[in-house]
Symmetry: C2
Subunit: 190 residues, 2 copies
């Protein structure tokens, strides 16, 4: 951020009165421009003993497999966002079962929410965002070609929890160390 | 938004290629400025048979009672945000038990997450953000002086769930009708 979106003057970084963090502040119109994490919402669609994955047709991670998910928009709920993304990316209509994973991804300022969802029909197709869309059994999952560690986590939790039939919310925080190493912590509760 | 935060030129609202929503777009540097919901994170702190409320020292809803909660910042997890807000607003250190309510508030583009949390000690005090901080038993809750309907919801769920000792995640969507009426829907799952 270099310019004030309200008046067009240059912004500078400083700690506003009563605050304790650096913000982009406009010295002309005095607007404080806060920056906050975004929500990524999506589904883990299940049909019988298979899960639905999409091969990304867009960057980042073009050509790798992911669950249908994307940025939550203004004016919708987290569930509506998850359903919309599943429809847009995989042309699949699903029924949400429960919130399944919630991961704060600190190094990119995102919170990712994946809902466990049922597919009443094995109906899906490719889209502008997906080169391929396919159902996979556990032994068919392309573990080495998954797009994001959060997706790997969600799938591992799913196949593990499926043995018990109990799918509790998995609360995680992920961050990147100074050495670039990815660190994933379970929440203090389950 | 009137000006591009990247180059300072005027922005206009239009639907970018490959998109289906109006965005603020800069015709000079071609930046698309997305706007997304913010996360409000907080706690419902419990000490024995009492819950902790804060009387707001800031607008909106100055002088009304609320749970300690506020905007999640970049670089922290949702849990860290909830703990930080509880410390900042009530000087209370709590231990998170579980995610308890998640409410998409459509008319203000917010997602509010309230964590159920235990207070090991009845230790708390006022702050720049709270005129008063107090523990309340169920029969002492100032129901008519609560700041937000989401807070009323969380407290009602809590005192109801306390009878069973089971505190499932409550998933809600709240919106305002054209007539200004507030409408609150439970999620499709619990
Ligand atoms: Zn300005
Ligand atoms: Zn620009």
């Amino acid at each position: 951020m270099k310019y004030c979106s309200n008046c067009g003057a240059a912004v500078e970084q400083k700690i506003p009165a009563g605050d304790n963090r650096h913000r982009y502040v406009c010295n002309a119109c005095h607007t404080i421009h806060y920056e906050n994490p975004c929500i990524i919402a999506g589904c883990l669609p299940v049909y019988q003993d298979q899960v639905l994955l999409c091969k990304r047709a867009i960057e980042p991670r073009y050509g790798l497999w992911t669950l249908p998910a994307g940025f939550m928009e203004n004016g919708e709920s987290t569930e509506q966002a998850a359903l919309r993304e599943t429809l847009e990316e995989a042309n699949a209509q699903v029924i949400i079962r429960s919130l399944y994973t919630m991961t704060s991804i600190l190094h990119v300022d995102q919170v990712q929410m994946i809902y466990l969802a049922d597919m009443p029909e094995p109906s899906f197709s490719i889209s502008d965002e997906s080169l391929e869309v396919e159902l996979f059994r556990e032994d068919q999952i392309p573990w080495d070609a998954l797009a994001f560690p959060t997706i790997t986590n969600a799938l591992k939790f799913y196949f593990s929890d499926r043995k018990t039939g109990h799918f509790p919310l998995r609360h995680l925080a992920m961050s990147r160390s100074d050495e670039g190493e990815l660190c994933c912590e379970l929440g203090t509760h389950q």
